[in-house]
């Protein structure tokens, strides 16, 4: 699939990759491009660091879907939203609670209140929750998701599972049985699980366990809803119209994470269009002698400047050019190495590093303008 057809045809594009590779900017650029082509697009970010707002030229935006003002000639629409874990979680509780009393008890439970801060993965879970909602709502032609920069690449796909596992009935009943028994004070624990429960009480403190038990007790009935939703989200990920894009930068550590993502997505049979290498330095020509190429012009143009200006600048240009040439050759090598890791239908794109930073819509519009599909020589290495 070409970059153009991916942007024109997909319903859901998920950008994954390590931190600092320009993932958010890429997600925003894809969204803007699709809007330019007349589609109605939502870019969803989980990142509280306002990177998306930054690249859209806004100081910040909230947890509601916000329409971005585009040039009047653009027919499509670009919307953006930042995810707030706690309010999404609260809304979810609101929706699934059978009655007012249950809702209040959950919202006031201290374990619940700390859960969104301290439960690794609850952010990711809530992201998928929100994502599902906007995708199935049909309000947008395309949703672009900017995933959190988790170092543990697996978390994004696994964490929803972790939360669901937490609410697994078997674990709950194992854990809650002594709790219920204690509540009814019906019998003295003799079973192994009761003994372990006592031990947990010793390790965690009885008070915490009681509160945790209360939380789980209320949540128990919600488990089926959570599991169904999680399964629906995973199904959504593997559906036609959904595409993962691995975003990376041309350096060793980022590319290692990109490869890891390729493997993980393949193992999960998730559709992945390919890898986009951001921030590529332009291919600088052969090492040129600055005084041969620019010497005469430089001395003419510097007549009114300091006596050594031309000489100094030319020496500097030569040194920078050699350094950047080295850098760009190393990047090309990293890219060629990545080519061999791609599946048969996956593409590799280069996006050149722009002069200046991307913090307005105009600059954002230029990001994909120079995107280049790398011509991968055939025969392609067979997959292992």
């Amino acid at each position: 699939m070409s970059l153009a057809s991916m942007i024109a045809e997909s319903r859901l594009i998920i950008c994954v990759g390590s931190g600092g590779v320009g993932k958010t900017t890429t997600a925003a650029a894809i969204g803007l491009k699709a809007a330019t082509e007349g589609r109605k697009v939502l870019v969803l970010t989980i990142d509280p660091a306002r990177r998306l707002a930054n690249s859209l030229g806004l100081s910040q935006f909230g947890n509601d879907e916000t329409k971005i003002t585009l040039e009047s000639s653009i027919k499509g629409e670009l919307w953006a939203m930042m995810l707030d874990t706690q309010s999404t979680f609260d809304a979810l509780i609101e929706r699934v609670s059978p009655d007012e009393g249950t809702r209040e008890r959950i919202l006031n439970n201290r374990v619940y209140r700390h859960m969104s801060d301290s439960f690794g993965g609850s952010q990711e879970y809530m992201a998928t929750e929100q994502l599902y909602e906007v995708v199935v709502s049909g309000r947008y032609d395309l949703v672009v998701l900017d995933t959190p920069p988790v170092k543990n690449a697996l978390d994004f796909l696994e964490s929803p599972g972790r939360l669901v596992r937490f609410l697994d009935k078997r674990i709950l009943s194992w854990f809650l049985t002594p709790y219920e028994e204690k509540r009814s004070l019906s019998r003295i624990f003799r079973s192994t699980s009761a003994m372990i429960f006592k031990l947990l009480g010793y390790v965690f403190g009885r008070e915490f366990l009681d509160e945790l038990a209360e939380f789980l007790f209320i949540f128990r009935d919600l488990y089926d809803g959570f599991r169904e939703r999680h399964e629906a989200v995973i199904a959504l990920f593997s559906k036609a119209g959904t595409t993962f894009v691995v975003v990376t930068a041309p350096n060793g550590p980022s590319v290692a994470v990109a490869q890891y993502f390729l493997e993980e997505l393949k193992a999960r049979t998730m559709p992945c269009a390919g890898v986009l290498i951001n921030q590529m330095h332009p291919v600088f020509g052969k090492v040129a002698d600055p005084s041969l190429v620019l010497g005469t012009l430089a001395s003419t143009l510097s007549e009114d400047l300091g006596p050594h200006t031309a000489k100094q600048l030319l020496a500097r240009l030569g040194a920078n050019h050699r350094r950047l040439l080295g850098l760009s050759l190393a990047e090309q090598e990293i890219s060629r190495d990545l080519e061999t890791k791609l599946g048969p239908s996956q593409k590799l794109w280069h996006i050149p590093r722009l002069e200046g930073e991307v913090h307005d819509l105009k600059a954002l519009g230029r990001v994909l303008e120079h995107a280049q599909e790398v011509n991968i020589p055939s025969p392609r290495p067979t997959e292992v």
Binding site: S55, S118, F119, F208, R316, L317, L324, A330
Partner: protein, 316 residues
């Protein structure tokens, strides 16, 4: 705060936006501060793929491994950390064995909010018993803040028992005078924005944690004169110079841009958050640099050592 005073603290935490080079700064700090009589451990916190492995060009696992004279490195993993934790908090090998061998309990610990992070953090801090200094390559910005908030949460959620006590110990170490955090940044507008925000958030959430330094990676010192800037602009304005000339001029503009961005970033970090900034000159491509990845780590360690020496001379 001077780098020399920062690096004399026993527990150093490093965080920052992803891709800024936290891991390599942590590794370089380790090489710069390790010396006879001062055993230093550089650790990662439960990462799937060790990035320290690249910085030191050797395999890194849970067990500390010597990577240079007086310097060790480790990637603290949850399972072995759990065993350390139980050995420390629960008396009796039988009970420890029971917990480690019970699959339900394993699931319980794996999914209880914050338990995993707390156990790993406890193991990291426990390393202070074995090393003179522990340098921690923390997760990126927001994730580091959540992780550091977990002991506080645990402390207030679990009001009795060994976890409560251990959480209290961890909280007091994090807030203590022998701990400091450094933020790693790059001379780029968005990275500086995030650094300023992170600094302010840390001040709100963990006001007692000392955050005196920012390491600014890949800097270019301002060496271009105004006249050179003028000439570069004039040359860039000429048409039809040919590809060789264009390439040279583009290279010049990149460099001018980096010098400007470095000066801007230094200025903003001083004026907006008032921290000491330790700049590193740019060195080349990670992993693709002549001499290999360890060379880059060593060069950065050298820059840190020189700065500390200069500080000492300045003081005397």
């Amino acid at each position: 705060m001077k780098l020399k005073d920062f690096s004399s603290r026993r527990l150093l935490l490093l965080t920052g936006k992803g891709g800024t080079g936290k891991t390599r700064v942590a590794a370089a700090l380790g090489l710069a501060t390790g010396q006879p009589g001062r055993r230093v451990l550089v650790v990662e916190v439960d990462v799937q793929r060790s990035a320290l492995a690249e910085a030191f060009d050797t395999e890194i696992d849970h067990q500390p491994k010597q990577v240079a004279p007086n310097v060790w490195a480790a990637n603290i993993r949850f399972q072995p950390a759990l065993k350390d934790w139980l050995d420390r908090t629960v008396r009796g090998a039988r009970i420890v064995g029971m917990i480690l061998n019970n699959p339900m309990l394993q699931v319980f610990l794996g999914v209880t909010p914050g338990a995993r992070e707390l156990v790993v953090l406890s193991s990291v801090i426990g390393q202070l018993d074995h090393f003179d200094q522990v340098i921690v390559d923390m997760p990126a910005s927001g994730h580091a803040v959540s992780m550091l908030g977990i002991p506080d949460t645990a402390f207030s959620l679990m009001r009795t028992g060994p976890i409560h006590e251990r959480a209290a110990q961890i909280v007091s170490v994090l807030r203590g005078e022998d701990t400091a955090m450094g933020i790693v940044a790059l001379p780029e507008e968005m990275v500086v924005n995030e650094t300023v925000e992170l600094y302010q958030r840390l001040g709100q959430i963990l006001p007692e944690l000392s955050v005196p330094l920012v390491f600014l990676n890949r800097c270019a010192a301002p060496t271009m004169t105004d006249d050179e800037h003028k000439l570069l602009a004039r040359l860039s304005g000429e048409k039809g110079l040919g590809s060789e000339a264009e390439a040279l001029l583009l290279a010049g503009r990149w460099d001018a841009e980096l010098e400007r961005a470095t000066a801007d970033s230094l200025g903003r970090l001083h004026s907006e958050i008032g921290v000491t900034v330790v700049p590193f000159p740019r060195l080349g491509v990670l992993g693709g640099f002549a001499g290999g990845p360890v060379k880059v780590t060593e060069q950065m360690a050298g820059a840190l050592r020189r700065r500390m020496l200069t500080e000492e001379k300045g003081a005397s």
